[in-house]
Amino acid sequence: MKRKTWSVSSISSLAVVIAIVVVINLIGTRVFTRADLTEKKIYTLSPASRHTVANLSDRLTVKAYFTKNLPPPYNANSEYINDVLRDYKAYSHGKFVYEFVDPANEAKLEEEAQRYRIQPAQVNVMEKDNLQVKKVYMGLVLIYGDKHETIPIIQDVDGFEYDMTSTIKRLVSDHIPKVGFLGGFGTPDLGQDMRNLTTALSKHYDVTPVSTEAGNSMIDNNIDVLCIVQPKEALDDWTKFCIDQYVMHGGKVGWFINKVKADPQTSQASGMNLGIDDMTRGYGFAVGNNLVTDAHAAAITVQQPQGNVMMITQVYYPAFPNITDISKQHPMVKDLQQLTLFFPSSVDTVRPVGAQVQYAPLFSSSDKTRLQVGRYDINPMAQMKREDYVGPKKLLGVAMTGTFQSFFSGKPVPHPKDSTAALPSVSIVTQSPNTRMVVIGDGNFVQGQYAQGGGPNQILFLNAVDWLSQDQDLMSIRSREAAIRPLKPDISDTTKQTVKYANLFVPPALVLMLGLFRWTAKRNRRKGVTL
């Protein structure tokens, strides 16, 4: 009798204790704290982000449109995003507020999400033993005053902090960065050839043409980024001088240069002399006088007369290489899977003397490359001879940071192109502050039919401009995220083997020795007893 009551009371007290544990866990999911032990504090809001939200002058509202109970792996994402937003809020002195809403069953919210251009995504869900495609929302909008910016879909939380902070910076700043495009010299027309691209760019940037034709004024240094897209004629000394001094004053340049002029209709191709090689070699790079063709290529449609009929066939066109050898480290390209370039030329790095330049390779052709120099064969109907396409791969894009040397140091100021203009009274700056350049051996990919809206080519260009215009702050977030720690590069095979066998056998051997030691000690003790 006594035992029974004891047992019942103990079971109920057990239940109470377990219930308390469950409650503690429930509270714990809401009230918690973290300590980031990683060396670069990769799981903590970076100083750049903290600083940005701490200095908000007005209220910033984040509305996250997330479907509840997202299927894995996305369910963990919304939790992660919630954590990050909470951190932003914590550092914002009450200026940063956020809420999660589920537009699934509310037409009004769904409409609102659509108005912010947050489109639903399709994901596979297991429901009632069936694999079903479900419409889910996982985007958010940042509202600041009468301005707003959207992150339409967050499928991968890598880079989320970067996206957030760069978006906040854009929202709060009155400064809209300026992107200039060098005009003349056969460069493409902004309004026609590059209309898709300039439309996309003008969402975040002030797009402006840059001319060196008239007067003696130089390139304005309040232009944040200067793009030089595919000139087809040689640049004159004055223009080169303008570009050079723009760089020396800290300007950032994106070079999108081909060295071969090609007409796919007539299959005619010829080399171009742009007169820039001397100057760019001084900066640390040269676009090769060549055509990079690759057996790993895009397919094109060609019409071919066959008797009286035009036959339409698909052929792989080596002059349009498909690029898959893309850096996984560089923020500009790490999310891109494949690019297609059109009649590209190689980008060669030439380490300049006495300058501090760092190179980050962006992408290369495949090891089935054939480099054409001097004579260019771009006939799509020519039989592709596999034995010609044996590499080696060629670098086609590079990002450079550092201080660049002026091409004009020790030279006189050239006369302006406009012959009526007077020689400007300027002193030549011989070295640039820390600045950036991007060099891509193709300028076709940003034009007309080649720059499909939203496709990887367009993303590459926009990322390049973003990267060039970014402040150091934001880059620090990116570089933190790419925390890859390779082993030392020069480990010899003998060391490798030694390390392997040592790690495999030393710990078990230590255990064995410990055992033998204990065993003999025990045996000796026993002996001592029997004696």
């Binding site: 999911t29 990683t38 369910n75 297991m126 082993l487 790690n503 030393v506 710990p507 055992g515 025990k522």
Partner: protein, 236 residues
């Protein structure tokens, strides 16, 4: 407290007086060493990610092997009755035995520091992250071990104790890998229950109170149930 220490010393010594501990340790280290060394130069990364990937799996088999005899054996041989004659609380018996087995897991992890030392010589390893990873391994081992002690306390048969511990551990191990088949409404609960979810949280280099609460809850509840099971047995 003194009682716990007495039990701890007695159990810990008995591990090393029998060949079991050595065999378990050596076998564990051979397997973990094999996976670690075969991937080290392949991945070419100065971290212990392969180790933190393989040990959770090894734990499922090794920890029940360590814990299975703790209570069950004494129960079968009847020596537990002897313990009951001393003025020792059931919870003290359980905690003492648990700490002894935990000591064995700690020693096991100490041996794997050989890997950490070699990696730190071959590249620039993130010390904080590695420490956090080891803490995660220790907490996970402690969690599985508590389950094992519970399993050992409900039966006299070591094999049954082993299988029960393995089954419960495997449940916590697998639960977030089958989320896809779980109704979405339950997915986050299942995920919270998953040991690997909290393990990863710490192993990546962040000490999170949520994960700590989870592990301590798991240990506390398991040991509570174990000492409850022991008390009931005494009542019979």
């Amino acid at each position: 407290m003194d009682n716990i220490l007495v039990i701890f010393k007695r159990e810990f010594r008995s591990y090393f007086d029998s060949p079991v501990a050595y065999i378990v340790l050596m076998f564990f280290l051979l397997v973990s060493g094999y996976f670690f060394t075969s991937n080290l130069f392949l991945m070419n990364q100065a971290n212990l990610q392969t180790l933190f990937g393989i040990i959770p799996l090894l734990y499922i088999f090794f920890v029940p092997a360590i814990s299975m005899r703790l209570v069950a054996e004494e129960r079968k041989s009847g020596t537990i009755e002897l313990l009951f004659t001393y003025p020792i609380k059931d919870s003290e018996i359980i905690i003492g035995k648990y700490l002894a087995a935990l000591g064995l897991i700690l020693i096991l992890l100490l041996f794997t520091l050989v890997y950490a030392i070699s990696v730190s010589m071959l590249g620039n390893m993130d010390g904080g992250q590695t420490f956090s990873g080891y803490l995660a391994l220790f907490l996970m081992g402690a969690g599985y071990l508590a389950i094992g002690v519970f399993a050992s306390s409900i039966t006299e048969n070591q094999i049954i104790a082993f299988i029960v511990a393995l089954a419960i551990s495997f449940f916590f191990f697998i639960i977030n890998k089958i989320l896809f088949f779980v109704p979405p409404a339950l997915a986050s609960i299942f995920e919270y229950l998953a040991i690997e979810y909290h393990f990863q949280n710490i192993a990546r280099g962040v000490i999170d109170t949520r994960a700590l609460i989870y592990f301590f809850s798991m240990i506390y509840v398991s040991l509570l149930l174990a000492s409850h099971a022991l008390s009931r047995r005494k009542g019979d």
